[in-house]
């Protein structure tokens, strides 16, 4: 019996989840719709306010560069959330975000 080939055992935490986002004329998020694992659309949640906007560009010198525009928003009912738009594809994602350790 040959030794089995080890599978990669590291699974990243905090992967972004795709969400549907409705934007206003200024391209700011106004409402978001989450989708569950089976692809069922949930109830639309209205964005009450956009608290903060920042841009992250990673490895811009590579072909597979990642550029995102993050929005920290308050949803209806006062619940906070962080969304980002992939600047390359224009797709929207929801992702918990905290400051990186230095």
């Amino acid at each position: 019996m040959r030794p089995s080939i080890a599978r990669p055992s590291l699974r990243p935490i905090g992967l972004p989840r795709p969400v549907g986002v409705r934007v206003d004329r200024d391209s700011l998020p106004r409402a978001l719709v989450r989708t569950d694992a089976r692809g069922n659309r949930g109830v639309e949640a209205r964005v009450e306010s956009v608290e903060e906007i920042w841009r992250v560009a990673e490895a811009w010198w590579r072909e597979a560069a990642q550029a995102r525009t993050y929005y920290r928003v308050i949803l209806e009912g006062g619940r906070p959330s962080t969304l980002f738009r992939d600047d390359d594809s224009g797709a929207w994602f929801e992702q918990p975000y905290s400051a990186a350790l230095r």
Partner: protein, 405 residues
């Protein structure tokens, strides 16, 4: 050979030597080849490694190709060394020397030293020593025994002895006895021996004639030891084998030989269970495991593993053995498997933790995870590990790593 009761200084060390142990081991197993020209081949079966006297008389020499050897001696019998057999006879030599002294050193396979000091009451005459040692050695191995006041002298005496005979060198005659001995036997590295030859020194007598300080200036500490050895005053003691802690051994003969790894694992699992059921292993912890297998063609494979912490748990011991076997490259189908649990200790040998409760919980968790892993094929638990905590994209910062106790 003087047989009068010698003084203690003249019989401090005995050396039992079997020149060409691999060849003689094979000859013992094949009595029909007595007196026939025989050569031992290397593993690749391309060259001659050792030859009997009869083969040498016909011009066969070590290092020749088998084709040349057979060309010179068409009746030559060519044998292949079986390492398992050689190891078995080497162990028999150690046992034979252990009959006369508790301090026995195997310096190489086929050369065994014994410290005879204090044994003169049991074996007053050299002949008594010879008889006691040779009682445990098959005569067809042609054992040679040397007895002297120092290690090197005893070794040379053994090499000069006739087969199944002993040579005793009294202390006062040691220097003279060694004087004509070629320097190649001196305990010096090959390069230093070559250097001595280039200086025109070819015998121990010539070497010993130099002043000690001159030899040490040229050859350092080792040179000084060799100088004393050449004078019959070798200062190197017999270094007995380290004391072996208690152990349990399980041996299984496989007929037909085990070929598949699954079959070997099944056999080994049963053997481990039997070994742990031995009264000596009950409630004990194991510090060292050893697995030794012999193939049907006599090749030997052996692995030894000292455990990071003593283990008493069958499951964890089995994990170690299984890993050993899964990565092993056996030299052929296995006919004999020997499993050894060594360094047995009491449970009290384990260091206690200050955090007993936490440790207990951790052990319970580990045990549970092991069960789940067996059930589902992978561990359902994972640990959070930091990967690049400084990364600006959150998914690169941390990851889950499978928890595998």
């Amino acid at each position: 050979m003087p047989t009068a009761q010698p003084d203690v200084q003249s019989r401090s060390v005995a050396c039992l030597a079997i020149p060409s142990l691999a060849l003689h081991s094979e000859l013992v197993e094949r009595p029909g080849l007595a007196g026939a020209p025989v050569a031992l081949s290397d593993e690749a079966r391309s060259r001659v490694v050792e030859v009997t006297r009869e083969a040498r008389l016909r011009g066969v020499r070590a290092g020749m190709t088998l084709r040349d050897a057979v060309g010179l001696c068409p009746t030559l019998s060519i044998l292949e060394a079986r390492s398992a057999l050689v190891a078995q006879y080497a162990e028999a030599l150690v046992e034979a020397m252990s009959a006369v002294s508790p301090f026995v050193e195997e310096s190489e396979q086929g050369v065994v030293f014994a410290d005879l000091r204090g044994t003169d009451g049991l074996y007053p005459r050299v002949e008594d020593v010879r008889r006691a040692v040779f009682a445990g050695v098959p005569p067809r191995l042609s054992p040679q025994l040397g007895i002297a006041g120092a290690r090197f002298t005893a070794y040379v005496a053994a090499r000069r002895a006739e087969p199944s005979d002993a040579v005793h060198v009294p202390a006062q005659h040691a220097a003279g006895f060694l004087a004509s001995e070629p320097i190649a036997r001196l305990p010096l590295p090959v390069e230093e021996i070559e250097r001595l030859r280039m200086l025109g020194i070819s015998t121990c007598g010539e070497f010993a004639a130099f002043p000690r300080h001159a030899v040490e200036a040229q050859f350092g500490f080792e040179g000084g030891v060799a100088w004393l050895a050449a004078r019959g005053e070798d200062p190197r003691p017999v270094r007995p084998r380290p004391w072996v802690r208690e152990r349990v051994v399980e041996v299984a003969q496989a007929d037909p030989p085990l070929v598949s790894r699954e079959a070997i694992l099944h056999a080994l699992e049963q053997m481990l269970g039997r070994a742990l059921r031995q009264p000596r292993a009950a409630h004990r912890f194991v510090r060292l495991i050893r697995l030794r297998v012999e193939t049907e063609r006599g090749a030997l494979w052996e692995r030894e593993q000292a455990l990071r912490e003593p283990l008493g748990d069958r499951g964890r011991l089995w994990t170690v053995f299984r890993t050993l076997v899964e990565y092993a490259e056996f030299p052929g189908p296995l006919s004999l498997v020997t499993l050894e649990l060594g360094g047995l200790t009491e449970e009290s040998g384990r260091q206690h933790s200050l955090f007993v409760e936490q440790m207990r919980r951790r052990e319970q968790l580990d045990e549970m995870v092991r069960h789940l892993k067996v059930r589902f094929g992978e561990s359902p638990l994972a640990r959070v590990v930091e990967v690049e905590p400084w990364h600006r994209l959150p998914e690169y910062r941390r990851a889950l790593l499978e928890y595998d106790p």
